[in-house]
């Protein structure tokens, strides 16, 4: 017998799924990369910040004062980040 799960339910993410997070300015300098790859089983923007801070301890303070953007929009701390999202951490800005 073959079991077909409902088509609308995606398979659960492996905890080793890699999320790519864009970094900028002081965050990129602290992490020595502009694109941080993180194991990501899903979660909120706040959880992503905690995961980045754990992966790059030197940037922890700046991460905690950064916003999270998906695509071209800031998202709220409790918003969920889809697994294939175009994610960026936005440290306090200084243009102008």
């Amino acid at each position: 017998m073959t079991i077909h799960p409902p088509a609308a339910t995606p398979p659960p993410l492996s905890p080793t799924h890699q999320l790519r997070v864009k970094l900028f300015a002081g965050l990129a300098a602290a992490a020595s990369t502009r694109l941080l790859e993180l194991p990501w089983g899903g979660g909120t923007a706040a959880e992503l910040k905690a995961a980045v801070a754990a992966a790059v301890p030197a940037a922890a303070a700046l991460v905690s004062s950064s916003g999270v953007a998906v695509g071209n929009q800031y998202i709220a701390p409790d918003a969920t980040i889809p697994p294939e999202a175009d994610v960026a951490l936005i440290p306090p800005v200084s243009g102008g």
């Binding site: 864009k22 900028f24 300015a25 002081g26 300098a29 700046l62 004062s65 950064s66 916003g67 999270v68 953007a69 695509g71 071209n72 929009q73 800031y74 709220a76 701390p77 960026a88 936005i90 440290p91 306090p92 800005v93 200084s94 243009g95 102008g96």
Partner: protein, 147 residues
């Protein structure tokens, strides 16, 4: 993207062209703001500034701000440009041109846009010191209003 859309550019800003692009026979007031690299800030010498951006997000944010300014202040024209890369002392890193029937709106819109750009648009400056030192500038405040 319309010709009036904000632009991030690596070459020099041409303020005269921006003013020409917002010109209108209905305009009585035209304002051009140029933000330029200071040689000294709070007593510390600056050799140049280097800017980077989350480019698609910054362009989208600038476009949203431009559209809001056009409506809120009843502008006839509005152009925004921001440099990326190294900007020498005396050169412009950001330019805003506005036109309106009357001067209050043209001034207020340019000031409002500068406030919003400095507070919200994902662009960052790095101070390049005379000794080769580099320092990214990250104010204490949070972007986007999220704690």
């Amino acid at each position: 993207m319309p010709a009036s859309s904000p632009r991030l550019l690596r070459g020099a800003i041409n303020g005269q062209r921006l003013l020409a692009e917002v010109a209108s026979n209905a305009a009585g007031a035209n304002v051009l703001f140029l933000g330029t690299t200071r040689g000294v800030t709070d007593g510390v010498a600056t050799q140049a500034l280097e800017y980077e951006a989350h480019e698609p997000m910054a362009v989208a944010a600038l476009e949203t701000l431009r559209n809001e300014a056009m409506e809120r202040f009843g502008l006839l024209g509005c152009r925004i440009e921001h440099r990326l890369g190294v900007v020498a002392v005396g050169e412009a890193s950001v330019a805003i041109a506005t036109s309106a029937a009357h001067r209050r709106e043209a001034f207020a819109a340019a000031e409002w846009l500068m406030e919003k750009i400095k507070a919200n648009v994902p662009i960052w400056k790095c101070e390049l010191g005379p000794d080769g030192g580099r320092g990214w500038v990250h104010p204490d405040a949070m972007p986007g209003g999220f704690p």
